[in-house]
Symmetry: C2
Subunit: 436 residues, 2 copies
């Protein structure tokens, strides 16, 4: 229990750090009224102490030296907002060693080094808040950990990377190709100069790793998550998806199936009348199915100064309330005990419906050759579209399958891609079907 003000130090004064500082300073009085005690922003450390961030700071608040924050005996909560693995990891571990609670938005770090950090925090009996690490302003960590505590999570679908959702929305709305949409995202500041983490699904997989730990107690399993990005999606696929009644989204998927967890990030076709398929632009959404609540969806901004700043502040307040009332370890660790019995299902063992786009020559018998191979691999076809007959040229032939096993699809496509009448690699997109 602490009777004086609860003091906060921020390390990393970039976009999110600025948002946090704005809220803590501008809403100091409101926050004190709500909490019943003062929250004091005591220090901010950043290598750049000169840049104008559009906020007036009290004198002496800024320092270039993270250790000034880490070693300040008055500071109760250290907010790490520099991102990346090093030196963020060392900073967080030092804060914990110094007995400070930690709030972070660092999904890459938690997804890969979460166990080490939570073990260290448990030993020192301090808390690690990570609401801002997943889906920005959507309080999905709090919801899963606290509001859904009486539920077994059965499925979770997340649009949790705003950059790729912006790109796919733009491709869908304006029929432009991937690279045009990416350039646009860069121009608007939605994509970084090196957009690899976003467009290849890695950022979504980092966040999914955190959600897996929260939802199922699966120990941080980033390396086991199948990850596929959106770079091969074409306007043609989006067009065909639309004809079948679907939209394409980069989805982070977790499912509990026969005591195993499916954990995967890939472009996914979703029924166009579902709420989640109508989440567009840089917005994020997390769809959850729980055994008690049934279906739920949580929607909001996934990034940005103020939305992510708001998530960080909610963690600061939660921890400050615990410090104030002496409620250390009110929620233990991630709030879900580690479940070693649950394993991540191998990708080849999952089942799904599939969209297949073949580059087939328009010759007699092509459809029968392809469908013959599919049938021989236990894959049954739900519908077919073939258009633009250009004699002897490669034309797109697309199919939707009924539910099939991934390993059967991989085997069938290997055979089909070798057919002389097929002129290129078959593209396939997994489908969350309307009726299966």
């Amino acid at each position: 229990m602490k009777k004086s003000a609860i003091s906060v130090g921020i390390i990393g004064f970039g976009t999110v750090g600025t948002g946090v500082a704005k809220i803590l300073l501008k809403k100091e009085k409101e926050l004190q009224e709500r909490l019943g005690f003062p929250l004091l922003l005591k220090r901010i450390a950043d290598t750049d102490t000169k840049r104008d961030r559009g906020i007036r700071l009290p004198a002496d608040l800024l320092t270039k030296d993270a250790d000034v924050v880490l070693n300040d005996p008055d500071i109760d909560i250290v907010v790490e907002l520099i991102g990346g693995i090093h030196p963020a990891k060392e900073i967080i571990l030092k804060a914990i060693r110094n007995g400070k609670h930690v709030v972070t938005a660092n999904k890459a770090l938690i997804a890969t080094e979460g166990k080490k950090i939570f073990d260290a925090a448990k030993k020192r009996r301090v808390e690690v808040g990570l609401e801002a690490a997943v889906a920005g302003s959507i309080p999905v960590i709090k919801i899963i950990r606290e509001a859904l505590v009486g539920n077994t999570i059965e499925a979770l679908f997340g649009i949790i990377n705003g950059t790729s959702n912006y790109i796919l929305s733009k491709m869908t709305e304006e029929s432009v190709d991937f690279s045009t949409a990416l350039d646009d995202a860069k121009a608007l500041g939605y994509a970084e100069a090196d957009p690899k983490f976003d467009i290849e699904g890695i950022d979504s997989a980092h966040k999914l790793a955190i959600l897996l730990s929260l939802s199922f107690g699966a120990p941080f399993s980033f390396s086991k998550i199948y990850t596929e990005g959106i770079t091969e999606i074409t306007p043609l696929d989006i067009q065909f998806a639309s004809e079948f009644g679907y939209k394409i989204k980069l989805l982070a998927i977790a499912k509990l199936v026969d005591s195993e967890i499916e954990a995967r990030v890939h472009p996914t076709m979703l029924p166009d009348d579902s709420l989640i398929s109508n989440v567009n632009g840089v917005f994020n959404a997390v769809y959850v199915e729980g055994d008690a609540i049934g279906q739920a969806l949580y929607y909001g901004k996934g990034a940005g100064e103020m939305p992510t700043g708001s998530a960080v502040v909610s963690d600061i307040v939660d921890i400050a309330r615990n410090i104030r009332t002496g409620a250390a370890e009110r929620i233990r660790g991630l709030g879900m005990p580690v479940n070693r019995k649950l394993s991540i299902r191998k990708m080849e063992d999952i089942s799904s419906c599939y969209y297949l786009r073949f580059s087939a020559l328009d010759k007699p018998g092509v459809l029968s050759r392809i469908s013959g191979i599919l049938g021989g691999c236990n894959i049954s076809i739900k519908s077919v579209i073939q258009k633009d007959r250009k004699k002897e040229k490669a034309v797109p032939l697309v199919m939707m399958t009924h539910k099939a096993r991934e390993k059967d699809i991989v085997l069938a496509l290997k055979k089909i891609n070798k057919l002389p009448v097929v002129s290129g690699k078959t593209l396939f997109i997994r489908v969350e079907a309307k009726d299966e």
Copy 2:
């Protein structure tokens, strides 16, 4: 701080009580693993101890006497699930007097007697959990009170009555009239024999009163909420709404406008490409705009044994964690201090766009008479639809206005309804427009 099990007693063993008991009993082991201590369902009181609720209870758990729960010194948390004002109010106040924490799903009681209950709880330093009182499984109380603590809520729109949303969805999808849709809702168990509270907007207003207190610190102001139900909506209005690009929903609206609060429940036209207008059937959704997070939407089941049971269990767990760690009053009262400076704006002073459906005779000059009156009352017309010309008969003439003041609309319609060429009362529906 309490080292033994935290004990729970339920009063009211109906639909929600059964859901709570199912979760606490069936998930006893999982909950203990998550929490780190046992939660014990010690007693359930209900006047009917015979009915089969599809759940096996340990011997001696059921009692007919609420006082057995209220006077049990071992019981830490009393869950009131009988609903209505009496004797729910007396039971809750007695539980509080006996030093017990309370969890309730009773929106009518909290909306009307909330001040008395929270004052009593504050005096005895016990908590009152009310997550299940608003929007069932959607953790909107927790989100506003905790996750959005760094935000000023600027607007809140809720579809928070599943019965009326089911009826409007059915009318929209199947072009049936209100009474047919209501009969269907009754047959499916979505509407009670006396559906007054649901279809007249009273239930939504109860819930809005609670949200107003949480969001703005407005003291429970149920009686000041303008409330209008869905009974006058016709398939014709739904059809016209669709032609203008809108859907009709029963919306609970709270807005912060010029240091006043708008608080109202009424049928509202919403752009058909907005997420909230696509919330159909018995589902609920709450859309929130905060100054830091921007736009957000939370969606899920608003009623039912297990969804609402899940919300009750999350309150039980929150309180149990506080009891365990000695963190009494970790969050004070509603988490938002009472703000006496904010007042509820008079309905006549609000501004909105409006849909107007006139029953006008199809005679020359009608349109000019009506539009002349509107113009004279500072109401400007955005678009008009007139169809089905039947000479000399009353035909629907519909208009969408630009933003206008409610008092001007009321005055203009008073004048218009007196015109000899107008054969009945003009129906008007407020519109949350796409571009204002």
